[in-house]
Subunit: 330 residues, 2 copies
């Protein structure tokens, strides 16, 4: 049974069956020409959209349907986390190849709806279309944030300290493992790749405590995130390689395939950690995010007036240019 045996309406109804009751702030939900929403009071709204494409952002051969759905939503939530926002609602736009098994469709939808439900996010609408091309999942996510708690990329100043949440490298290692060994392999790196966790709570706490001067999420690697903060803020950044929280299992993987682990972790994508900067005298404000964010925060570098992006391997060695990150497009 493939999706081509269903009408659009039947597929929509399969999605609706997986959804909890609509929230009170949704006077018109799925099933009309558009959804009608009551805005949250005294909040700004944060909008993001991200698409994942089979063969570009995931590979159906080793990514289970529920993980495809989970990842498609998590990458959006990670963008909201990086703004200090609380996610509120999403719209799903799915372009489906005719031969997509109906069970895979249900699995993808369950990956999305389970994560949405767990985070208290309403699926308020969407669009289904067939495509002669690859499965494409486009999700628009909307969150809310108080004006004074918005995090942007542009607020870092020379002297600010650079932090990263959690650990880096695990997702890239997990992807390498899956590409080599196929769908059967299971370990924490593979899990990090298949079911990334958006750092929503740390992002909210950094925003609420006004602890961070700039923040991005690491979708395309730490080097790319460093570059984005540096460019938006007009600063340079020097990263202390020895301080980087490279996931130990990832380090083991990279070394086993003959790659320099720190370099691989800096350039590897899909971590979805937060990279942020903090004014030195406001380090105290990090405490709540440290205590209640559920994830370690590690100081990994410093912002400089000189606009170079540098990597210091050890305190004894010379600084080298930061390697290029991962780029999706070229």
């Amino acid at each position: 049974m493939t999706v081509s045996t269903c009408t659009e309406r039947e597929l929509i109804s399969r999605i609706q069956q997986q959804l909890p009751p609509a929230p009170a702030w949704l006077p018109v939900g799925i099933g009309d020409d558009a959804a009608v929403v009551e805005p949250a009071r005294n909040r700004l709204e944060v909008f993001t959209v991200d698409a994942v494409v089979d063969g570009v952002h995931f590979d159906r051969r080793f990514t289970p349907p529920a993980a495809i759905g989970h990842r498609a939503l998590a990458v959006n939530l990670s963008d909201l986390a990086a703004m200090g926002a609380q996610p509120r609602l999403v719209l799903l736009s799915l372009a489906l190849p005719a031969d997509l098994p109906l069970a895979d469709f249900d699995g993808i939808v369950s990956g999305i709806t389970q994560l949405a439900t767990r985070e208290g996010i309403a699926v308020i609408g969407g669009n289904l279309t067939r495509t002669p091309g690859p499965l494409t999942i486009d999700i628009t996510a909307v969150g809310t944030v108080k004006r004074r708690n918005v995090l942007t990329r542009g607020g870092a100043r020379p002297g600010d300290l650079v932090y990263v949440s959690g650990s880096i490298g695990a997702a890239a290692a997990g992807l390498g493992w899956l590409q080599r060994d196929g769908a059967g392999v299971a370990n924490t790196c593979v899990e990090r790749y298949l079911r990334p966790i958006a750092r929503l709570k740390p992002g909210l706490l950094l925003g609420r405590n006004r602890a961070a001067s700039a923040c991005v999420d690491l979708s395309d690697g730490l080097a790319d995130g460093v570059r984005r903060i540096a460019e938006a803020s007009g600063v340079g950044i020097t990263i202390d390689a020895s301080a980087l929280p490279v996931d130990p299992e990832a380090r083991h993987w990279f070394e086993s395939i003959g790659q320099e682990a720190t370099h691989a972790a800096i350039c590897g994508g899909d971590d979805y950690e937060l990279l942020f900067t903090v004014r030195p005298r406001q380090r105290g404000r990090l405490k709540a995010a440290m205590l209640h964010g559920g994830v370690p925060l590690t100081r990994v570098g410093v912002c400089t007036a000189d606009r170079a992006l540098l990597l210091q391997a050890t305190p004894q060695t010379a600084q080298a240019p930061l390697p290029d990150g991962f780029t999706h497009f070229r």
Copy 2:
């Protein structure tokens, strides 16, 4: 020159060059992890998303790039019109084949941004990805509406009169013309297909005057729209075939290829007119929409307690079942 010669950032900057300055209600626009928006005061928000896929919803062989962009946005605006909403902002998610000429990319973007600018809509963000499949344009549009002015599909009652805006059939005829004669053909039907006009002003006026009890836009044909209002409202509808405002040039086209024109116009998609119902004693409220909406409104049928969907060819003939509309998915 194809899009594959550019980085994602270069393509984004080509889009930004086509945009007017950001509105004051957009504290963070394109270029951060997400966009930050101040909600409009005392308004509900209306959300819709629609994707168009090369080979499914358009054909690059006879659809100029600017028309592809225009149509991709217009179908979203039509959904907002059907809710009585004023469009405010959009997010663009484009999946681009590597061999898409850069000039076509610019043309598609110009089709979107010109329509957006003309309607006072801000492009606040988006996503670019490459795809091994067909060009896919996914647009999320958000509008605003006062709570008392929301139009839905579900408010029709037996006895309500059924109206349609403008004329029907022209876009289907235009598509037929293009499919037969290729990109060179130009006439009003082709223009209606290539550059559909969302009925924003009539939709706003119907909502503000509280003239309509139910409303949908005609994306997939009048028969499909009738079915959607009937199902959502729990009524039947009888359409008076002789009253239908079939576009005269479209009628001529359908007859020239041996099709019954009224039937073809009822089933043809892409009209993007509004189909709506009005309580008989509230017909007076239609006047403002008639006078200021810039488009004729034609009474074409009536809602019935019996839930059948019927077509009355002439007052003298028997009623027949309404034909099936166009369905995108199967």
